[in-house]
């Protein structure tokens, strides 16, 4: 087994793999991230069986926490498999903060949190903000400290899908990308290294100031969202809300009572950025 250890925000990982290549890709893309002494989680990429280590290699995603029916991925998508394994550890095992399936960005010490279903564009929007004057905090999980309500950065690699890949490639010259992985179970995927300030400040927290529910592909519109609806949607977006018990309930009620929320429909990245800036001026 090959091994690579890394720290992303408050969490650290030991990545193990029977194949060198995906780990080397991770090493390169996560080069600026701190190492880990005693990692919080272990992720293992293992051959489905001995034969499949060499012939049409197929990697099962295993580790401390596993899904019984998780489909293996071809080894060309090993990088994606490792990222999925890391997400799974966080979603199932992390208890130190409340996890929201959301992206986040910071400006002026305050955090914007964006959540929505797959395809809503939350990941792309956080990447766009990250190269337009905001500090990128994460594209997958927003971590909320249950004691003081602060958002804790989790700036893993940004996972770009389908059209978002070309959009970002054209957008900036000095960005580093991982390999383009075509036709994965989630479509075409290419990982992007977050901007340098996002990595350098990965332990700098921020107070949530605005919650957005973006939706890509609709005529531009902004809708108020009452705390009750925000609360219900965020319980759905959290992977550990129930496990945190009363602590989780208090963290979430605190969040929705103190932070304004809006639903935001948009048709293009530019349009969304304009609307986000406008709402931020008004509300944050």
């Amino acid at each position: 087994m090959q091994e690579f250890r890394l720290t992303v925000g408050p969490a650290s990982f030991r990545l193990l793999s029977e194949w060198k290549k995906p780990l080397n890709q991770m090493r390169e893309l996560y080069a600026e991230y701190p190492a880990a002494d005693i990692p919080d989680f272990t992720v293992r990429l293992e051959a489905v069986n001995a034969l499949r280590r060499f012939i049409r290699p197929s990697a099962a995603i295993n580790g401390d926490y596993m899904l019984p029916d998780a489909a293996p991925l071809p080894i060309e998508q090993g990088l994606l498999a490792l990222e999925m394994g890391m997400n799974l550890q966080m979603a199932l095992g992390w208890r130190r903060q409340m996890i929201l399936h959301a992206s986040a960005a910071e400006r002026g010490g305050k955090a914007l949190i964006m959540t929505g279903e797959s395809g809503s564009g939350k990941s792309t929007l956080s990447a766009l903000l990250g190269i337009n004057g905001w500090r990128f905090m994460g594209d997958e999980f927003a971590l909320i400290d249950p004691v003081n309500g602060e958002a804790v950065p989790y700036p893993r690699l940004i996972s770009l899908k389908n059209e978002a890949i070309t959009a970002m490639q054209d957008g900036a010259a000095d960005i580093r990308f991982g390999p383009l992985m075509k036709a994965t179970p989630k479509g075409d995927i290419r990982h992007m290294v977050p901007p340098a300030d996002a990595i350098a400040q990965m332990s700098k927290r921020a107070n949530p100031a605005l919650i957005l529910f973006p939706r890509f592909g609709h005529d531009p519109a902004i809708r108020d969202m009452p705390p009750s609806e925000t609360f219900m949607r965020l319980t759905q977006a959290s992977t550990n809300y129930v496990a945190l018990g009363e602590q989780g309930f208090e963290a979430l009620t605190g969040l929705v009572q103190n932070v304004p929320a809006r639903a935001l429909d948009y048709r293009s990245g530019e349009e969304a950025m304009e609307l986000v800036e406008k709402l931020w001026e008004e509300l944050a």
Binding site: I38, P39, T42, R44, D64, Y65, R96, G245
Partner: protein
């Protein structure tokens, strides 16, 4: 880099004697945590290591584990409460089993324990009524396969698993503690007869009718654990079952010995445990009990029992996990896998079962491909 060739002894040592963790370096801790998670003993370990000096990163991980164990305890008791409410009006005993029973009765075995499904036992003759009430309260069948369904009903010690459609939690309804086809025949009637009430999870009465849940008497609790560990299955989760066993038997001793430490090694003191051994004979589980006692002594007590040659094989299987958290010793595992089928079914039936399963597998892959 942690040693990939090690086995789970590091976990057994830490559970037996928490001070052994003081010698661990970063790699030792990393291996211990991965093994404990894979064996679903991280919660038990977290409580066991409370008060030991440890690196800050480890303390945070174990704090997470305790928080998670508390969540599992809370949801297990709530699930028991919901089952009791669903069974209101049923006059027979409903016995909580395994983890849920340990936490309901506030036992040492329940501290930090991982709890997944809810396991209950009722009289075999009452199964149709119990099933009907659970279905009416929102539980549904997990797999709707005629062969599996019929197999469960004819040969197993439990109904096919049910899952609650809103809470997404499974319930296993047992009528005895070993498959009907296994050679030992536990006295299920006596187990129900002697089960004792446990009041911590009783729901509000439904339409004026309350139901009180029960747990096995202490001897049967040990023997159910024994059957689960030694006489059934392929020893998956074996270390956790052995730790349960150890905690249960210590608690039993504590009650007999009036709080004094149990003598070493336990198994020579058959007289103190007389009622347990008599009960084991009644359930056809005497040899299994002796083996479990020897293994638990060996792993979790300072004065070690003499292990028989076959015990060494069990030990080899129980410890088959490396510092990466991977299962190891494939041949030993395979051996115990075959043994689990052998224990479960007479040879002819086993052959027929494997044949049917193989054909179903082929049909399925043919239809998947098409």
């Amino acid at each position: 880099m942690s040693n990939p060739h090690g086995d789970a002894s590091i976990l057994v040592d830490a559970l037996r004697d928490p001070e052994t963790v003081r010698q661990l370096g970063s790699d030792g801790w990393t291996a211990l945590l991965a093994i404990a998670r894979a064996e679903q003993l991280i919660g038990s370990l977290a409580y066991r290591l409370e008060g030991q000096p440890m690196p800050g990163g480890v303390a945070a991980i174990l704090e997470d584990a305790r928080l998670n164990a508390e969540y599992q305890r809370r949801s297990a008791l709530w699930e028991a409460n919901r089952a009791a409410a669903a069974l209101a009006g049923y006059d027979g005993k409903v016995v909580l089993m395994k983890g849920t029973a340990y936490v309901a009765a506030d036992m040492k075995a329940g501290i930090g324990r991982h709890i997944g499904d809810l396991d209950i036992m009722v009289a075999e003759g009452d199964l149709p009524l119990v099933e009907e009430k659970l279905l009416a309260a929102g539980w549904e069948w997990v797999k709707e396969d005629e062969y599996d369904d019929a197999y469960y009903r004819e040969h197993m010690h439990e109904l096919p698993p049910l899952i609650h459609k809103e809470r997404d939690r499974m319930i296993d309804v047992h009528h005895t503690i070993l498959p009907k086809t296994a050679r030992p025949k536990p006295d299920a009637e006596a187990m129900l007869e002697d089960a004792v009430p446990v009041n911590t999870v009783s729901p509000e009465p439904v339409e004026g009718r309350a139901i009180s849940l029960s747990i096995f008497c202490p001897e049967d609790m040990v023997l159910h654990c024994t059957a689960h560990l030694i006489a059934d299955g392929e020893l998956d989760g074996g270390l956790r079952n052995l730790w349960d066993f150890h905690c249960l038997i210590e608690a039993m001793f504590a009650s007999v010995m009036d709080g004094n430490e149990p003598p070493d090694p336990i198994w020579v003191h058959d007289q103190t445990l007389g009622p347990l051994y008599r009960r084991a004979k009644q359930h056809d589980l005497e040899a299994a009990l002796r083996r479990a006692v020897r293994l638990a002594d060996y792993c979790f007590r300072t004065c070690k029992s003499e292990l028989a040659l076959s015990d060494r094989l069990f030990l080899r299987r129980l410890l088959a996990r490396n510092g990466y958290g991977q299962p190891t010793r494939k041949l030993t595992r395979l051996g115990f896998y075959i043994r689990s089928h052998w224990l479960r079914m007479p040879p002819f039936m086993l052959a027929r079962h494997l044949w049917t399963k193989w054909r179903m597998g082929r049909k399925k892959s043919a239809s998947d491909a098409g």
